[in-house]
């Protein structure tokens, strides 16, 4: 009975307990405690992140002669840490005032906690998978568990969940095909067996496996062009659930892809496979997929008018950075990709939680219906500020560090276009997160929001802690880079040399301790200069320059709708909705096909087809 056994069993136990305790009023706190205990058990395995050997569970199952077993290495630990931390934060958030409110709104917070625990269990099972079969079992569990989370809200959520599950099933089928093919090649589902034959695979086989796995796991990640399900589905999930899903759920696809494509098949093979009639290798193609995954969803996010949708679309885009980083051969890139998983989870969770807090107080997430909340919810504003700086990848938050690593590796590898693509994505992110914070917290406060207060502490504390993480790991990225380096070692890819403050390399250093110190020193100087001037007088918000017109609170002049009108004038017509169109065309095609197939069954004459079948099959054999 080691820590891993304990963790998995406790997790299963939490699922059962929260499943039965749904109606309890204290179900939320119960679930939080259970998740906290799981975090403690995970910490018991913290040695993994500092070079301890992998932990194997002491139990295993054998099905149809195939053993399934579970183990934890540094990579699993890294992902599990993110999973459990974001789950704990979401759980605490949902346990307190928010849960009460949710119950009053007709929801079932106990069910939400159950879904949360189920998701955690499924993810831990996936992360702990020690062979292909347990990987797939975990994978499917994750898929269906997140469906449960998505459809909790009912209504439109059901529709989006359904859409998700169609994508997910398609992906699962692709993965299953790949696994079965591996099984036919090796006769087992063990990682080691596949790794052993991987070098002797033919190019065609490598391409097949890569495409199958990238498609299968990419669906969950929201890789282009399979990303359409994600934003809607996450946006409709109840707040804390969305924070959890947004933070980590999609990254499970990345994890599985890491194991299969990068660890087992290996990037070396992908680089050596040329795409015919082009100067791309298979790896380049995947990197371009990642690049488009960065750009298109980010710019789609810019157009969203619902805060949750905006964040969810960004979630898709950020996944592209992770994949792009991990597809890089040098340690900078892969470290950047892995670190971005952590960083992204930390700020995305807070962002969703802040938006949920705003919804909790105002009952809307429509960016055109909000504004000026900074005076009413200053702490929330601060946390959103910290986290959008992280999301946009601007120093001094942690998002910058991981993106810096990715940019650097792109420069080192000499990939200008991909570099441009990733920076364009960042710029788009800056634009849209400014829109988010401006339309929510800045500008004119609406009359109906006069009486709003800051959210209760039960909701505030998880946000505070997570945003502290965003800041601290930006200031001292070495903490995370230690874990990342161990994860790299576990993956068997080059390990990044790093320091507490960042990276030192002959071609350029990064020392976030200095940078942050100087930056805050600069702010101090700025403040000194500012406050050395004459004291300023606070005036009412409406007391401002309005072209000679006196404003009253009835005048709505918050500039929020179509925020980037000028830009949209130029690029607006590039939003063709091509993917939507493709998806709906596919839907119509299926509908048409199924109408056609049903026509056969609606034929008034039952025996005609028998005649046809008889004739044709005789023709097949005798003719």
């Amino acid at each position: 009975m080691n820590f891993l056994d304990g963790l998995l069993i406790l997790s299963l136990l939490s699922v059962i307990v929260t499943g039965f305790a749904q109606k309890l009023r204290s179900a939320g706190w119960l679930s939080s405690v259970l998740l906290g205990l799981q975090c403690l058990l995970l910490m018991g395995m913290a040695g993994l992140a500092y070079g301890s050997p992998a932990v194997s569970s002491s139990f295993s199952v054998s099905v149809l002669g195939q053993p399934l077993h579970w183990q934890f290495n540094a990579l699993s630990w890294f992902f599990a840490l993110i999973t459990l931390a974001s789950a704990l934060a979401s759980s605490v958030y949902a346990a307190g005032a928010w849960g009460e409110d949710y119950r009053l709104q007709g929801g079932n917070p106990g069910l939400l906690q159950f879904a949360l625990n189920l998701n955690v269990f499924a993810m831990l099972l996936l992360l702990a998978s020690g062979d292909l079969l347990s990987l797939f079992v975990g994978w499917e569990l994750v898929s269906w568990a997140s469906l449960l989370m998505m459809v909790l809200a009912g209504g439109a959520a059901g529709r989006f969940g359904l859409r998700y599950i169609v994508y997910a099933t398609a992906g699962a089928m692709a993965v299953m095909t790949g696994l079965v093919m591996i099984f036919q090649l090796t006769g087992s589902f063990q990682f080691a067996d596949f790794a052993a034959i991987a070098p002797s695979l033919s190019n065609a086989q490598v391409v097949t496996f890569t495409l199958l796995f990238v498609f299968g796991f990419g669906v969950k990640m929201g890789l282009l062009p399979f990303h359409l399900w994600q934003a809607d589905a996450y946006a409709e999930t109840p707040g804390p659930g969305a924070a959890f899903l947004g933070a980590i759920s999609s990254r499970m696809g990345l994890f599985a892809m890491l194991i299969l494509v990068i660890q087992l098949i290996g990037l070396g093979r992908l680089i050596n496979i040329e795409v015919p009639y082009s100067f791309f290798s298979l790896r380049d193609v995947l990197m371009w997929v990642a690049a488009f995954t960065i750009i298109f969803p980010t710019f789609t996010a810019m157009r969203q008018n619902d805060a949750r949708l905006l964040l969810a679309w960004h979630g898709i885009g950020q996944g592209g950075y992770m994949l792009m980083g991990l597809l890089m051969v040098n340690p900078l890139g892969s470290a950047g990709g892995l670190m971005h998983v952590f960083n992204y989870a930390s700020y995305q969770a807070v962002l969703f939680l802040v938006v949920t807090a705003v919804i909790y107080r105002t009952r809307t997430a429509d960016l055109n219906q909000l504004g000026g909340l900074v005076t009413r919810m200053p702490l929330s504003f601060l946390m959103m500020l910290i986290c959008i700086i992280g999301l946009a990848g601007i120093p001094p938050m942690n998002g910058f560090v991981s993106k810096w690593l990715i940019y650097r590796s792109l420069i080192v590898e000499g990939m200008p276009l991909l570099f441009v693509a990733s920076v364009v994505g960042t710029l788009g992110t800056i634009l849209s997160v400014y829109k988010l914070i401006h339309n929510t917290f800045l500008g004119q406060l609406r009359l109906e929001h006069e009486q709003i207060r800051e959210v209760p502490w039960s909701m505030m504390i998880p946000m505070l802690i997570l945003s502290a993480v965003v800041f601290i790991t930006g200031f001292l990225p070495g903490i995370v880079l230690d874990w990342v380096a161990s994860a790299q070692a576990a993956l068997g890819i080059p390990v990044l040399e790093h320091t507490l403050g960042g990276v030192e390399s002959p071609s350029g250093n990064l020392d976030m301790i200095w940078i942050c110190s100087v930056l805050f020193g600069g702010f101090a100087v700025g403040a000194l200069v500012f406050y050395s001037g004459n004291k300023s007088r606070r005036v009412h918000q409406l007391d401002n320059y309005a072209g000679g017109h006196f404003l009253t609170a009835d005048d709505r002049y918050h500039y929020s709708n179509n925020f980037y009108a000028g830009l949209m004038h130029h690029i607006g017509h590039w939003y063709r909705g091509t993917f939507q169109w493709l998806e709906s065309s596919l839907g119509s095609a299926i509908s048409l096909l199924s109408a056609a197939t049903q026509m056969l069954f609606n034929s008034f004459h039952p025996a005609l087809f028998l005649l046809l079948a008889a004739t044709l099959s005789l023709l097949f054999f005798a003719g």
């Binding site: 109408a595 049903q598 008034f604 008889a614």
Partner: protein
């Protein structure tokens, strides 16, 4: 003319092609007719073709029926007899055919009583109306109706009648 004395090739033509022809005529009859009673008759023809084919399978030139009579009963000579197995099989399959046809006729009687028609197209239309009604879903046909101003084809008479009655 005694069939045994016929030219073997001509006999083969007659028997095999007769059997196959009956089968095809039967199937074609089922497919081409819209009257369900005629369909059952066509089915009987097809079955007859199948049975004929089965009987031919046991045929041997110059052989006699597999029954020991008169002289053979004394000698127990069975060497020049035709194959008895297909005959037994045909016996079975004829009876099966009778059973099926009886059931078919019973169903036809009921269908005619309930729907007032023997036309397969109308029977089908009425049945679909019933099924859709019991499932409380819109008639699937309505989705296929033309959208423009083109007049709709009137529904089968019996359908309309039933709809009026209820």
């Amino acid at each position: 003319m005694n069939p045994i004395e016929m030219n073997p090739v001509a006999l083969q033509w007659l028997l095999y092609f007769g059997a196959m022809g009956l089968i095809v005529i039967g199937i074609a009859g089922v497919v081409l007719h819209q009257n369900i009673f005629r369909m059952v008759l066509a089915l009987a023809i097809a079955e007859a073709g199948g049975n004929l084919l089965l009987v031919i399978a046991g045929f041997r030139f110059g052989a006699v029926a597999p029954i020991l009579q008169d002289d053979a009963l004394q000698t127990l000579n069975t060497s020049n007899m035709v194959d008895p197995v297909p005959q037994a099989m045909v016996l079975t399959s004829i009876v099966i055919g009778v059973g099926i046809q009886a059931l078919a006729l019973a169903l036809i009687i009921r269908i005619h009583q309930r729907y007032g028609t023997l036309n397969m197209r109308e029977v089908h239309a009425c049945m679909m109306v019933d099924i859709n009604k019991s499932a409380a879903v819109d008639d699937l046909l309505s989705a296929q109706q033309p959208r423009g101003r083109r007049p709709l084809p009137s529904p089968p008479e019996s359908t309309a009648k039933r709809a009026n009655n209820e």
